[in-house]
């Protein structure tokens, strides 16, 4: 596990500008308001947790950031530049890699194919450059390595279609993909929900490693111990808006939960 002191560095947004910023995002579905004017700031090198009740709009918020939904109103800024993501590919090109709550895996393809989907590796030499032939062998062995890294050791057949995997195995595939390929920002929507204790911890470790590579991470989770273990700052989403931002040092878990559920009024944002 990373030493506690490194966390100190990351936690402070200080004078640095946010890498990714959302301003007043609104998204309605008919009568339903998923986002009612939501803000978010993500600073360089930090792990920002987003917590909130079910239906608070967490997934909608990060979907807007990753191009999976186009907000009705509001702005998104990446490195200070206003960006408009029409689809997930735009965000991905900008270096934002996302694990969606619904996982977004192709059920009939196998683990390696899913891991490398959209980023397939070609054979070296003419076979690859002229015939554009895929390097199945390499991708399979890489896939096995990634899955083992996440502690998913019960995987018996790397060529299994993803639809036949257990819930946790499937989630691991999605997480491994994001961790391996993020280049600017990594967003994880409930990455440990279906994971076992060991596998969940490996993912937390991975998140720290990604942060230590210099990439800021947005982590959505209902697991308070996990959140308080890795987050530098905690964005609390409530009823489609950001209620406040706290840190694991400024507030306890019980306080965070109380703010989240509306039991106590949100304190002013930290920092």
């Amino acid at each position: 596990m990373t030493a506690p002191e490194t966390t100190q560095e990351h936690g402070s947004p200080g004078p640095t500008a946010p890498v990714l910023q959302a301003k007043g995002l609104i998204k309605r579905y008919g009568r339903v308001v998923a986002l009612g004017g939501s803000d978010l700031e993500l600073y360089p090198g930090e792990i920002l947790a987003v917590i909130g009740d079910n239906g608070a709009g967490k997934s909608s918020l990060i979907k807007a950031l990753s191009g999976a939904l186009v907000p009705d109103e509001g702005e998104i800024h990446l490195d200070g530049q206003r960006v408009r993501f029409g689809n997930p590919m735009d965000a991905r090109k900008a270096g934002i890699e996302t694990v969606y709550q619904t996982l977004a895996v192709a059920p009939g393809l196998d683990i390696a194919d899913n891991l490398f989907l959209g980023r397939e590796q070609r054979r070296p030499g003419l076979l690859g450059s002229v015939l554009r032939m895929l390097d199945h062998k390499h991708m399979r062995s890489e896939a096995r390595r990634h899955m083992n890294e996440l502690g998913v050791a019960t995987l018996q057949n790397i060529g299994q279609p993803v639809e036949s995997l257990s819930g946790g195995q499937r989630q691991a595939v999605a997480v491994a993909r994001a961790a391996a390929f993020g280049s600017r920002v990594v967003i994880l929507d409930e990455p440990t929900a279906a994971l076992g204790v060991k596998e969940g911890n490996r993912v937390l470790q991975l998140i720290r490693e990604v942060r230590d590579r210099g990439l800021p991470v947005i982590l959505i989770s209902h697991n308070m111990p996990h959140v308080f273990e890795v987050a530098d700052r905690i964005h609390i989403q409530r009823l489609g808006r950001r209620a406040t931002v706290i840190t694991p040092r400024s507030h306890s878990m019980a306080e965070a939960v109380a703010i989240m559920t509306g039991a106590v009024p949100p304190p002013p944002a930290v920092a």
């Binding site: 895996v105 192709a106 059920p107 989907l117 959209g118 554009r132 032939m133 204790v197 273990e229």
Partner: protein
């Protein structure tokens, strides 16, 4: 960082050794029973089901009339399925993306009329007419793809619309008149030329067909594009979220299908030694049938081109075999219907073994 509360839910990672120790239980290479090995084989090769059906059909027809399994007759069956097989190849790509193409017959026939008209009426030299026809057929496919991806219409509706549009342009352009192969440049009818190999007569059209299957098989299995086609058909929304430009994939698939249909048109001219505006009304159903008999799912993402080739052959073998067996025309429909049902039941039964 290691607070008391987090320990409870997050113990330190356990040494990897223990997993390895437990592994033998689940070893991939444990000795397997013969039955298990058959299951694995079927699991890995879903085309074996249709293949078994094809082989059984060939055996049955040979028993009923030994002439069936003669080299001339088998060449006939191959020549008879060539056009449908090429069209079904394009159809396979579209069905893999969870689409359907009702305009396949219209594109093929219209392309053949365009090639022939450009050569005979507009006086273009053979190669120019051929290339123009191929380009126009490809463009028709691309138009379908454009409507599916840009206007976001369901493929069924798009191709239903273009089907009637292409057929009616076809009537206008052809003036409903057949153009004779004898009047065309030799290149256009070249696909019908046969090379004798023993008693077997293999047409250039069939060779082109086999090459196209090999090409598409390679592309689907060994290129990124192939993976994207499967992912798009499997779960389009997931593929989009995973960062695949699904619109682009779909557009490419409809365009490639159009190109394949245009090549089918060329082979069609060779086969009929004419370009007739009135053929091809059954190509839609026949090509979809071949794809489905080959084991692909109309819901997308499952299936492959080898299955389609076998599916096309099954239909061809049934048609030819029933005739040789002397079944009456009125009862041939009955028999084909029954055989299709039996064939797919058999395939289903074979698959069940593996589940």
């Amino acid at each position: 960082m290691t607070t008391p509360s987090s320990t409870a839910s997050a113990p330190a990672p356990v040494p990897a050794k223990s997993d390895a120790a437990a592994r033998p239980d689940f070893d991939d290479n444990r000795t397997t029973s013969a039955r298990a090995r058959v299951q694995q084989l079927l699991h890995a090769n879903p085309t074996l089901g249709p293949l078994a059906v094809l082989v059984l059909a060939v055996i049955a027809f040979t028993v009923s009339n030994p002439r069936f399994f003669s080299a001339p007759n088998l060449s006939l069956v191959l020549a008879q399925v060539t056009v449908i097989a090429v069209l079904a190849l394009g159809q396979t790509l579209i069905i893999l993306t969870a689409g359907i193409d009702l305009s396949v017959g219209a594109i093929a026939v219209f392309s053949s009329i365009l090639m022939a008209s450009l050569a005979v009426k507009a006086g273009l030299p053979g190669p120019a007419a051929l290339v123009a026809g191929l380009v126009l057929g490809t463009a028709m496919g691309a138009l379908n793809g454009f409507l599916v991806t840009r206007i976001k219409l369901p493929p069924f509706i798009v191709t239903l619309g273009t089907l009637t549009i292409f057929f009616s342009l076809n009537s206008v352009v052809s003036n409903s008149e057949t153009i004779r192969g004898a009047d065309m440049p030799g290149l256009l009818t070249w696909t019908g030329t046969a090379i004798p190999i023993g008693g077997f007569r293999l047409t250039y059209g069939s060779i082109i067909m086999l090459l196209l299957f090999a090409l598409v098989l390679f592309a689907l299995r060994n290129t990124a594009w192939g993976r994207h086609v499967y992912a798009t058909g499997d779960d389009g929304e997931a593929a989009r979220l995973a960062g695949i430009r699904t619109s682009r994939v779909l557009l490419s698939v409809y365009t490639v299908a159009g190109a394949l249909y245009a090549v089918g048109a060329w082979i069609l001219i060779g086969r009929l030694a004419s370009a007739s505006p009135n053929v091809g009304t059954d190509y839609n159903l026949d090509s979809i049938t071949a794809v489905v008999l080959g084991g692909a799912s109309l819901f997308g993402g499952r299936g492959g081109v080898l299955g389609t080739l076998i599916g096309a052959l099954i239909v061809g073998v049934f048609r030819n075999g029933l005739q040789l067996a002397g079944v009456e025309v009125v009862w041939q429909g009955f028999a084909i219907g029954l055989l299709v049902l039996v064939a797919v039941s058999l395939d289903q039964w074979i698959r069940k073994v593996k589940a």
